[in-house]
Amino acid sequence: MNRLRAPHLLALVFGIAFLYLPILVLVLYSFNASRLVTVWGGFSTRWYAALLQNQALLDAAWLSLKVALVSASLATILGLLSALALGRFGRFAGRTLFAGMIAAPLVMPEVITGLALLLLFVGLDAERGFWTVTIAHVTLTACFATIVIQARLVMLDRSLEEAAQDLGATPLRVFFAITLPMIAPAILAGWLLAFTLSLDDLVLASFTSGPGSTTLPMRIYSSVRLGVTPEINAASTLLIALVATVVVLASLLIKRDALART
């Protein structure tokens, strides 16, 4: 490996500090004994203990977790189906349009998506709550799942599926015996990505949630407007830890899968 030269090292340190210093400060202050956010009063885990007493925050966390689990699962199923349509059905009519529509949520401003969904739910007279937030999250995260799964599907040697069919397996058997096991790591990675995206989404949830269905990011955001408390720092730290773990897991999965194929 190349040794880092001084200017490079400086740039690297600056870049990482720019990205992660605020988060580091937040994490540090979650262990602050003092109630005052700007004054360091010694190390303490009292705010984590206090967190367990805050029923509103716990409810929000539980709701976020449920939304993330359900929406990630739905998004992964949709993502798998659209990846298969794009990767295995040849050049069907409207394929380009379909591919474009799949990728659109990547670049669509979330505010617009959120507003559009809100109008839709109001128009349908749907009661806003768990399901509306979940559906909103699926619209955002399905495209990420599609892209991750499709990337793996494109790399998959077609002759494996042809060989299975040649050996007498029906197309459905080929899918379950060959295709699915081969792309399983990508499906899991897509699910994890959808899970984290849902877990930390604020904008879509703000538009599509109703009374009594406040997600964790919404709870944190509204608390902060009344002043930052060390308790929120603690909650945020836990959220960061969870998201970071899942993201690292997902990238390890993708990397290991890529290594196994070389």
Partner: protein, 383 residues
């Protein structure tokens, strides 16, 4: 005059020469297009039971498409494919009585060797014991006993090839399709495997259809070769027919090394044809193409059929003078290029077999030499 046979081989298996023989596979006027490209064009070909047939041609000549149509992975745009008299149209790949060995082997990486070979048997709904017995039989056949528990990534290239072969044979296909079966093996292993595959084919009595771009492979293994050119069959015949009697210049140049002398027919007396060419007046004893005096023709001559002499030869054969241009010592023979005298100065390839370890008359660059070849050595091609 007694008819001589082509090459130095005598074959007893030649059902294609028997008008009463019934073909097992028949491609009838098969055409396949991909967009603007015609991959296979109005092609008709019969394969006979027990035949080892090779489709030979450069990449893009349609050989793989033809084979994939028999397997069911491509559908002909027009024409029919018959197997044992049954039209295969509309039958999906998983219901066809053919099995294919893929170029990449396509072993299922998440399954053991046992499960790979058992895969096709399980699709047939065979009982557990029957599957195990058949897999064991197949492993013995390809000499891989004891490898049942391995994963494909724990196998060498040669072992993978054997597993792929065992897997394709396990279902007892009527026709085995081989897509570049030896392409991924190194030279030494390729020759070994080549003879094993031939023995196996003879032992099982199965019809093999092989796709290859390697003429040595096709020549050594196949009973008959179809040389393909841009979606059509340029010539079909036994290896010695393809080599000694190429139907046209494309086949002559694709299979083996060859020298081409372009010229004009100046006389035809029975089977003796005289041609005026850049190499001088050439004589040829060839019953073939029915050319008339004054027509353009080419004489094609294989390098191993030419002798190099230091003095002008006597007698009725062909001869041409020139000087040694280049020498390549290849061990089993030496490939010499001789530049003929005259304006054109055509280069002629001559293959000198190294029959003895030592020679009294070695050749050197720029030596003046005479080339000499028999009246039966050359082939006359139109144009």
């Amino acid at each position: 005059m007694a008819r001589k046979s082509l090459g130095n081989i005598r074959r007893s298996f030649a059902p294609w020469a028997d008008p009463a023989a019934i073909p097992q596979v028949r491609f009838e006027s098969v055409t396949k297009r991909f967009g603007d490209i015609t991959a296979v064009s109005d092609l008709t070909l019969s394969l006979y039971p027990g035949e080892f047939h090779a489709l030979l041609g450069p990449s893009g000549c349609g050989k793989t498409t033809l084979m994939r149509m028999l397997a069911g992975f491509e559908t002909p745009d027009s024409g029919r494919i018959l197997l044992d008299g049954q039209d295969l149209a509309g039958i999906p790949p998983h219901l066809r009585p053919t099995n294919m060995m893929f170029q990449s082997y396509a072993l299922f990486p998440h399954m053991s060797v046992f499960d790979n070979i058992a895969f096709g048997l399980r699709q047939q709904g065979l009982a557990r014991e029957a599957v195990a017995a058949r897999v064991a039989e197949m492993l013995t056949l390809v000499k891989l006993e004891g490898f049942a528990g391995r994963r494909p990534d724990q196998l060498s290239g040669g072992q993978k090839q054997r597993v792929a072969l065992a897997r394709a044979l396990a279902r007892r296909p009527k026709v085995l399709l081989l897509d570049e079966p030896l392409g991924a093996l190194d030279k030494k292993l390729r020759e070994e495997t080549q003879y094993e595959l031939m023995d196996l084919q003879a032992e099982l009595g199965l019809t093999f259809l092989m796709v290859t771009h390697d003429q040595d492979e096709a020549m050594a293994m196949a009973d008959r070769i179809s040389v393909m050119e841009r979606g059509r069959i340029a010539q079909v015949g036994a290896p010695e027919e393809i080599y000694e009697m190429p139907a046209n210049r494309y086949v002559a140049e694709f299979v083996g090394d060859i020298n081409i002398f372009e010229g004009m027919v100046i006389s035809v007396e029975g089977e003796i044809i005289r041609i005026d060419s850049a190499a001088g007046l050439l004589v040829l004893d060839d019953p073939a193409p029915g050319l008339a005096t004054g027509e353009k023709a080419s004489l094609a001559l294989r390098p191993e059929k030419i002798d190099i002499l230091t003095a002008e030869p006597e007698g009725p054969g062909n001869k041409a003078a020139g000087e040694i241009w280049d020498i390549g010592y290849l061990g089993d023979f030496t490939m010499v290029q001789v530049k003929l005298d005259g304006e054109a100065g055509q280069l002629v390839k001559v293959a000198l077999p190294n029959r003895s370890r030592k020679t009294e008359t070695p050749i050197a660059w720029d030596d003046r030499v005479w080339l000499s070849w028999d009246v039966e050595a050359g082939i006359l091609l139109r144009g």
